[in-house]
């Protein structure tokens, strides 16, 4: 099963876009992140939902002591105004510089192995310099469930 058959086409994040716009694209396509294309038109990083939450909402101390938190932590939760503020911020503040790209002709097994190697849920599929879409662990699983994996 080649990953070009199971990649999910998405828009890319560009300089100056808001977090809201980029998050909406991730949510609507069900992908954990999309590539960030800089002024020169090259993929120079990625917008990752996980990375964004780490940067804006869950500092290390909360992660480390998560099992010690009770239920009375309303003041640490997402107030509406915080979400509004976050959605309006520039996506440039949340770009993760590291990207892992795969050629569209790679097999899904290789994609899964590289995901394990990089401890990630998704990879970007490219054809030369052209971005094709995102392949996720769930998209591979989906292809197996629907038997699309049998299509050569």
């Amino acid at each position: 099963m080649k990953i070009k058959h199971i990649s999910i086409p998405t828009k890319v994040a560009r300089p100056g876009m808001s977090v809201g716009e980029v998050m909406s694209e991730c949510v609507s396509k069900g992908v954990p992140g999309i590539p960030y294309v800089d002024q020169s038109g090259l993929i120079s990083g990625r917008f990752s939902v996980r990375h964004m939450f780490r940067v804006c909402c869950i500092p290390d101390d909360i992660i480390q002591g998560a099992h010690l938190l009770g239920d009375d932590i309303d003041h640490l939760d997402f107030p509406h105004i915080k979400a509004e503020d976050l959605m309006a911020r520039s996506v440039d503040d949340f770009i993760y510089p590291d990207t892992v790209r795969l050629s569209a002709n790679f097999q899904a097994i290789k994609a899964l192995a590289i995901m394990e190697q990089h401890n990630t849920e998704y990879l970007f599929v490219t054809e030369g310099e052209d971005y094709q879409g995102v392949v996720t662990r769930m998209s591979v699983a989906g292809a197996i469930v629907t038997r699309e994996c049998c299509i050569d």
Partner: protein, 437 residues
Amino acid sequence: MMEQITTEMWVSALLLLSAYILIFTEILHRTTAAMLGALTMIGVGMWMGFYSQEQALLAVDGNTILLLAAMMMLVALLRPTGAFDYAAVHITRWAKGSPKLLLIYLSLAVSLISMILDNVTTVIVFAPLTVLICRLLKINPMPYLMAEAMLSNIGGAATLVGDPPNLMIGSAADISFNSFLMHMGFPVLVVWVGTVALMLFLFREQLTDVGEDPRTLVDTHAIKDAKGLKRTLFSLAVVVLLFFIHHNLHILPAYASFIGLCLALLMLKPDMEQIFGTVNWSVLFFFAGLFMIVGGVEASGLLDLLGNELARLARDPQMLLLTGLLLMWVAAVLSAVVDNIPFTVTMIPIIMGLESSGVNIAPLWWALALGVGLGGNGTHLGATANIIAVSESEKSGMPEARITPLIWMKTGIPVMFFGLILASLVYWLFFDLFTTA
């Protein structure tokens, strides 16, 4: 004196100075610099005939290196059990939302733990928990992070195993755990109480009650491995007990720590690769490199020469007190700006050399231990625990919590000098206590 200095002495001094410049300027990683320095010292020493590979190996204090490695592994076994989390939950409850009580309790816990375990690990574990507690209580974590780092440095100064310089001093001077605690315990207690009082005063504006029902942490999931916790605590208790009687049993503290470690390894059967991976080899090789560098300078005879000069001053019993105080203050000021380990390693053979000149060197050991122990609080670079507190303040994402070098010094310098004044007073008033090792 000048005609007595040989070419070998000049060369060894130059090599020592070059290595220390590389270490302090951080041009190279300190471990790389120490290893490079040691290799050069041995090579040049062999070529010039004043130092050999065998002498270099003998210069490494195995007691210090092995004890540190064993304690690092014991801490690595204790940490995942949730013991520190459990302690933090209960400290928060006992404080009942009072910012001042929380500062006292957290400082006390960190100081007591640092008397036995490595204070850097203690701060690494407590600092994020402290930020979380402050987040829940809606208070600024900055005073707490600074207090924890400073008081862990002070607490560690009380015991033979609390701080690497103490271990090096104790090992070189053959001072027992009990003797260290008896001599250092009182001055450290005085400094500890004084420092807490000073910090409560300096941070009085940040330590005001928020007037809300305090939210606390829950201990339901704090203990992750109850059986492992009991077994590790039992092993640690054995180690502490052996520390108290190691002199009577004629065993080294390192041997005592390895008895506890082996007990823990037998009972817990952990993944050995993982446990050995937790040992901070870089720190241990840094220490070994320093021992070898200073061993070369010692072999050249330069340290004896320096010791002879110092002996002229210290031989007079009246001047011994003054020499001790001077050593304490110089050690403290240097430790505030540079790593205190190289200074300690260099001073040890100099002080030991004084003994042959008929000087009672016991007061100098205590002065050195107090100086290097208290000096680290002056600047954020003075101790590794301070750097961890600063880093945690940055990671918290709270602008008001950020500890800049200037903010550190505004509190650190008064804390350091106040501590030194208190320690000097105790040293002066009870000088007879410090004349034995």
